[in-house]
Symmetry: C2
Subunit: 278 residues, 2 copies
């Protein structure tokens, strides 16, 4: 009974993403971290031209100092304990501040590869949709689990961005695909089950790859993804000022950036505080 309504909602959300990609010459930004969940800084990001933001549960764990976590490694271990109601509140607040034309995709407990049983109920999808989310930012690493989420998300009018990772990743953030050929194969399967935007995890986020150029292996994997699918593509992990052009040159449509922006905000805060001390 709500299928057509929700198709309309999803179509409008998809247009926001396509418009953002178009406005930014083929590659736009999905701004996360501080700019995803703090309404003051989401507003600043939008004022600067961002058209997509992503609140997520590990970042909210850091924002709230939940269990004293102060880095992403630690946050990933306890992120599933952040109540989904908290994520709905964050989403609702950010939505009210950024306005209706901004695309908001949200990472929620149960939507990532969690380390404790974290079940998503129909009501959770409904809650996030009502809170103002356009989509869900999903990091499942099993195709069947992902398919179940896509079906429920669509039923409640939410698009899904989901990711491809590697079987050897320290933190599992995507469907594993270890070679460019496997990336193409998995990407096609993800497209078939209805994933709306397909991303590649670079694996660079936690592994301290040197800045600058991006490793050839990542470039090949990304190229394989971009050339295979018809839906918009994303790249996530370790994207910074030095390597963004290299990423842009792969033809990927959306750069997911959190840490690099957060680092600049934190450096600015440190400089500001120091300037008020003798």
């Amino acid at each position: 009974m709500i299928k057509a309504d929700m198709r309309k909602k999803m179509e409008s959300a998809r247009q926001k993403v396509l418009a953002a990609i178009h406005a930014h010459g083929g590659t736009t930004l999905l701004s996360t971290g501080l700019t995803g969940d703090d309404a003051r800084l989401a507003k600043a990001a939008i004022a600067a031209g961002a058209k997509m933001v992503e609140p997520n549960h590990p970042a909210v764990a850091l924002a709230r100092g939940y269990k004293g976590v102060t880095n992403m490694h630690a946050a990933e271990q306890i992120r599933h304990e952040i109540p989904i109601v908290e994520m709905a509140k964050v989403t609702s607040g950010v939505r009210q501040v950024v306005g209706k034309d901004i695309y908001i995709t949200v990472g929620i407990p149960g939507g990532f590869t969690e380390i404790m049983p974290t079940i998503l109920t129909d009501n959770d999808f409904k809650l996030m949709s009502e809170a103002g989310a356009d989509g869900l930012h999903i990091h499942k690493s099993d195709l069947q689990d992902l398919a179940e989420i896509v079906e429920k998300a669509h039923y409640y009018g939410l698009l899904v961005d989901a990711y491809i990772g590697r079987s050897t990743d320290l933190h599992s953030f995507g469907i594993p695909a270890d070679t460019p050929e496997e990336v193409a194969k998995v990407a096609k399967e993800m497209e078939k089950i209805g994933v709306d935007f397909i991303g590649l995890m670079t694996g660079m986020s936690y592994e301290g790859i040197a800045a600058g150029e991006i490793p050839a292996v990542i470039k090949e994997r990304l190229k394989s993804l971009v050339e295979t699918v018809n839906v918009p593509t994303l790249a996530e992990g370790g994207i910074n000022l030095n390597n963004q052009t290299a990423f842009r040159n792969t033809g990927v449509n959306i750069l997911v950036v959190g840490t690099a922006i957060d680092d600049m905000a934190e450096e600015a805060v440190k400089a500001a505080v120091k300037s008020f001390l003798p």
Copy 2:
């Protein structure tokens, strides 16, 4: 039965403030805004040398995008609707991240001059104390109301920083005192009822006074406060990079700075986001 325990807790908290003032050559910083309530940025502020932070309910309203507010004027109108439990959660998270040696004073609904009946119960003081607050940041504008709060706060081991304003202030943030003589008189009364740290509201926060030197009238009021009381003193409102030295030269012990630091963080976020867009 808990009076001696709480005296010990308060004495230890007071030592943190005295040590911060000493460490910073007589004038320290109370960092608020983003650095008061977001654990990620509170951590950055502490790393840069801040030793006192202040979460408060209007800033949390902005952080959460509560009712879509995007500026302090609007936030002040709905701040009393932020649940005290939310302020306790913020305090607890910030405490876990900054460690026990940092002084945390908290603005809570009912602790400011609210526009709706907002009653503080014994349990509210207990809650904030247990959440890890050292003190309460109080902006009552009636001496009797303030005395009641000081008594309850002390009973639950919380110190109080409270402020002097003017009868003509657009937003009422302190006990009114319009001349330097009245400032001295009111400050003595505040000291007598047990206020632990006494501040002066400059009135500059919302009124767009030009940057640079501070107006003579504020300097005289601040001088009157500093010369009158034995407890540490604060100045709040419109303190920025340009006028901080002028404030420091008045001999005031603590500069309360929120907006100036937030502005720098927001500018950094804007620059960061722009650098990821074509």
